[in-house]
């Protein structure tokens, strides 16, 4: 196990770029990304693991960046909402009304994106399982559900065409 103490210089791979940052071992990944690298897309809704607004992908898996230490992300590929580009889920969130204030959106997008990457044929129960990790106070979830359904359909169609 690697041991860190005091100020340490680490390299973080965020959104396909290497960032050299000086952190304290107790600094969370969320705060380091937001305050030191400048990725403010992930949000601090609770910093307690309860809301999902800080969700990012680490090696393709959704994690709550407020519960991760920055040093834990060394050697991993981190993807934030800023690293998503023109994905089906983003497009569907816009067309289906997947957000209002947008504060929860980064977290929902990352989680939903990972779900569709991992399991494009997820059924309703699996979707609920994944997305109940995030909270949204504005939409009543109707738009999010519709967006997920639409993005899933589009991805399935694409996959079928490939086959």
């Amino acid at each position: 196990m690697i041991h860190y103490s005091g100020n340490v210089s680490i390299q973080l791979n965020v959104n396909r770029e290497i960032h050299e940052v000086v952190v304290m071992p107790q600094d969370t990944l969320l705060r380091v990304m937001r305050e030191k690298i400048g990725y403010t897309g992930p949000k601090a809704g609770c910093e307690n693991g309860d809301c999902g607004a800080c969700t990012v992908l680490m090696d393709g898996k959704p994690v709550k960046a407020c519960l991760m230490l920055a040093v834990e992300a060394v050697g991993k590929e981190v993807l934030t909402v800023e690293g998503l580009e023109d994905t089906e889920i983003q497009k569907a969130f816009i067309s289906e009304g997947g957000f209002q204030c947008g504060f929860c959106t980064a977290g929902f997008l990352m989680n939903a994106f990972a779900l569709l990457e991992t399991n494009p044929d997820a059924d309703e129960a699996e979707k609920k399982d994944w997305l109940s990790a995030n909270l949204c106070r504005c939409t009543g979830y109707e738009g999010i559900e519709k967006a997920l359904t639409l993005a899933q359909k589009r991805i399935q169609e694409k996959n079928n065409n490939k086959r």
Binding site: C46, G97, A106
Partner: protein, 776 residues
């Protein structure tokens, strides 16, 4: 008119792409190298004397710039009633109250020092309900109430715990109760709780050497903040610059003044440097204000046919430790105290009562969700007593144009059609509202309905403004004081411009951030009045701009102004369209081929101010505080397992008369979002307390709100009875759909268990217990 983007089409929000790309900068996303960071220390006690605050150790810690305690500022702050020190002074009045704040070079250093501050308390017994606060032996939570300054429309009762009382007296209720065929009485309770906007509150304050005070805040009401900063601290109005970026949800929780005052005082302590104060989620839940609680007694008298003859009501709103907006919430509930029913004889006392609980501010519905719960439970009790269908009873009593409201104002033709709303809701639920359908396994299917109404509660001089400037390509820029909190008003306003001037909506640029030094004044983005008032101001600005465009074109084209029309990005003569100019040629002044230029740029301006509003008579409540009424009806269908108490809301329906629907998708989003909030409020939310008054669910893990997958099937219908003085006939719709959910759910569950379920939240455990009681 450009029909593609105009009124009635569903557009995506203007800021959509930035929102799905993490590119919107919310308040908390602002960080500069000059910034210092604040942390707060909060009280673990609900009611205590502060004996000593020991800051010695904290002072010596790394990076500490300043420590602020109650003794650092001698005056109180307060929105309507100046009752709250910026941090607790001598006494703590609720769990989570801020007792000290620290400023440091980093947030981590600030929190470490806040932890190191030692506070010695003498813990005292808290008051934990309004009725307890009103009992004879209750102590007075604000001894000094008599010395607090307050606005005129509220009536504090010094020496008691009543921060405001609004009386409604109409007709002769005593007589009505005497001659009634049936009377019913009911008592309901709602605990205080929280908005849980996903963005915790933030304020950044800086005092420049020139005396300018810059405040960036997650506020729904930058102009209220500006006005109050002047009032509290004597800063010149023109030197206060409040900026509101996009907000991560407000729901009323960010509509007053909250962290701004403290952030300013902290900046003052560090020589004016910018100080960033962000709530943790826990501080946001219990340190900053949440939603109000209620205890209420309601009596209804009716004749044999089910016509309501009179109502007698006592609303005891639970303000918590401070008054904030609560004193106006209780007043707003009084104005519409009967729900959307015509009642000729009324006695109502609506009180705002101090307790030792987290304090309350505005919350979506502004007193109406609480009032409605009480009234709608009573209506179902009345239907039971009369053995009448609950929907039929409501249709029979639904309020109509020309009826008088509780404050004796007369409803006009712009008032929505609640009867039709009831019918639509009945139809969406498949009728037979009073029936209980037995399924297997001791499971039943039940329905519940409610009516709802709301008028904005706001100052009589509530205003809005709009400024329209242009770019050389003929596109325009709309600047209003409406804050974008997720409701989509900015997009709606762009649609209004597009419709009015025939400019495609993509070429109507809206200024997203509000800056009180450049945006026209706008009371607040609250009370569901943004689209209506800023919409009217925007229309006037369009008209003004159109007039100027025609004036230029009239000179250039040598045709009378009245023969010109502006549409499709041109100004032209309709029957000879070739005679015309592109807007791009005129909006910054016209330039002749030889270089001569005339007129200069077009700047459209428009304004709105509420008309003919008055305060209430202190003895009878008579007055005209109600600008417009939005009416609607809601209902649910629920499946309940009586063995376990577990239930699932299968369907939630709403029919609401919003006047003209400007953007159907955005409007539906507001309605559905409100219904979801109302469902969470009713089924799982609210603070829980131990007997020492400590909040036992003060973290998001324990304070439950609805999650993905909890949502039922939503059905929404709009009626469009035009608001005659609204933009294209539109009126407010942002809050209304939250109002009817508690009553609808409680009415359905009461039917399922066979007994009134009158205490929110209606948890499965409560359903199970009640159903067991009934069985026995």
């Amino acid at each position: 008119m450009n029909t593609k983007d105009g009124i009635g089409t569903s557009l995506t929000r203007k800021e959509s792409l930035d929102k799905v790309s993490g590119r919107v900068i919310y308040g908390g996303d602002n960080m500069t190298p000059q910034m210092l960071y604040a942390a707060q220390k909060t009280s673990p006690h609900a009611h205590a004397k502060i004996i000593k605050i020991d800051t010695e150790k904290a002072k010596g810690m790394k990076g500490i710039k300043a420590i602020f305690t109650g003794d650092d500022y001698k005056d109180n702050l307060g929105l309507y009633l100046c009752d709250k020190p910026p941090v607790a002074r001598n006494v703590v009045r609720h769990y989570g109250e801020v007792v000290a704040a620290v400023v440091a070079d980093t947030y981590a250093n600030a929190t470490a020092a806040a932890d190191a501050i030692a506070v010695e308390y003498e813990v005292m017994k808290p008051i934990l309900s309004p009725l307890e606060a009103l009992s004879d032996d209750a102590y007075t939570i604000h001894e000094e109430m008599g010395s607090y300054s307050h606005i005129k429309p509220i009536h504090p009762e010094p020496g008691t715990n009543v921060a405001n009382r609004t009386k409604i007296r109409k007709g002769n209720p005593t007589e009505a109760f005497k001659s009634a065929h049936v009377t019913i009485e009911t008592f309901v309770e709602i605990p205080p709780g929280d908005h849980v906007a996903m963005e915790p509150r933030v304020a950044i304050a800086e005092i420049k050497k020139t005396g300018y005070v810059h405040i960036l805040s997650s506020t729904q009401a930058p102009f209220v903040v500006k006005g109050l900063m002047h009032q509290f601290f004597g800063i010149d109005q023109g030197k206060i610059i409040v900026k509101a970026p996009l907000i991560g949800g407000g729901f009323g929780g960010k509509a007053g003044i909250q962290l701004e005052g403290l952030a300013y005082l902290l900046s003052q302590k560090v020589g004016g440097r910018p100080v960033k104060l962000v709530n943790t989620r826990e501080e946001d839940l219990t340190g900053s204000p949440g939603h109000i609680g209620l205890q209420a007694k309601i009596k209804i008298a009716a004749d044999a046919e089910g016509k309501i003859m009179g109502m007698d009501m006592d609303y005891y709103f639970n303000s918590g430790a401070y008054a904030d907006y609560a004193v106006n919430v209780s007043r707003a509930a009084a104005i519409s105290c009967t729900g959307p029913y015509y009642v000729p004889n009324i006695r109502c006392d609506s009180m705002c009562v101090y307790t030792n609980m987290p304090f309350a501010t505005a919350y979506r519905g502004f007193g109406h969700i609480e009032m409605s719960f009480a009234v709608e439970r009573a209506m179902d009790e009345l239907a039971n007593a009369l053995k009448m269908d609950p929907l039929e009873l409501r249709i029979k009593n639904g309020i109509k144009p020309h009826d008088t409201t509780p404050v004796q104002s007369v409803l006009n033709e712009s008032t929505g059609d609640i009867i039709k709303c009831f019918e639509e809701v009945g139809a969406m639920l498949g009728g037979d509202i009073g029936a209980t359908q037995q399924l297997e396994n001791n499971t039943v299917r039940v329905k519940g309905v409610t009516g709802l109404w709301k008028a904005p509660a706001m100052p009589t001089n509530t205003d809005a403004g709009a400024i329209l400037t242009f770019n050389s390509d003929g596109s325009c820029n709309l600047n209003t004081g409406v804050v974008e909190i997720g409701q989509g008003t900015k997009t709606g306003l762009a649609q209004i411009v597009s419709e009015r001037l025939g400019i495609p909506v993509d070429k109507v640029h809206v200024v997203m951030e509000v800056d009180t030094s450049v945006s026209p004044s706008d009371w607040a983005t609250a009370a569901s009045r943004g689209l209506m008032m800023a919409g009217m101001a925007t229309l006037e600005a369009c008209e003004d701009a159109e007039n100027q465009i025609k004036e230029i074109a009239s000179a250039v084209l040598r045709v009378p102004k009245r023969d010109l029309k502006v549409d499709g990005e041109r100004v032209f003569v309709p029957d000879e369209p070739k005679i015309g100019l592109n807007l791009s040629e005129v909006v910054l002044g016209y330039v002749y081929p030889n270089g001569n230029a005339i007129y200069g740029q077009v700047i459209g301006s428009g304004k709105y101010i509420a008309k003919h509003l008055t305060d209430l008579d202190p003895e009878t409540g008579e007055g005209h505080p109600d600008l417009e009424w939005t009416l609607g009806a809601e209902g649910v269908e629920i499946e309940v397992n009586l063995n376990t108490g577990k239930y699932k809301i299968l369907k939630a329906v709403c029919c609401i008369d919003v006047g003209k629907v400007i953007s159907p998708a955005l409007a539906r989003g507001q309605i559905v979002g409100g219904m979801a909030m109302g469902m969470g409020y009713t089924t799982m939310e609210g603070f829980t307390f131990n007997d020492r008054g400590q909040v036992t669910n003060g973290v998001l893990r324990d304070y439950k709100i609805m999650r993905y997958g909890d949502e039922p099937e939503y059905q929404v219908k709009f009626l469009e009875t035009p608001q005659q003085d609204g933009p294209y006939g539109a009126r407010g719709l942002g809050e209304q759909s939250v109002i009817g959910m508690p009553g609808a759910i409680a009415n359905a569950l009461s039917r399922a268990v066979g007994k009134g379920m009158n205490q929110i939240p209606l948890t499965p455990e409560k359903v199970w217990k009640t159903s067991m009681e009934v069985k026995r």
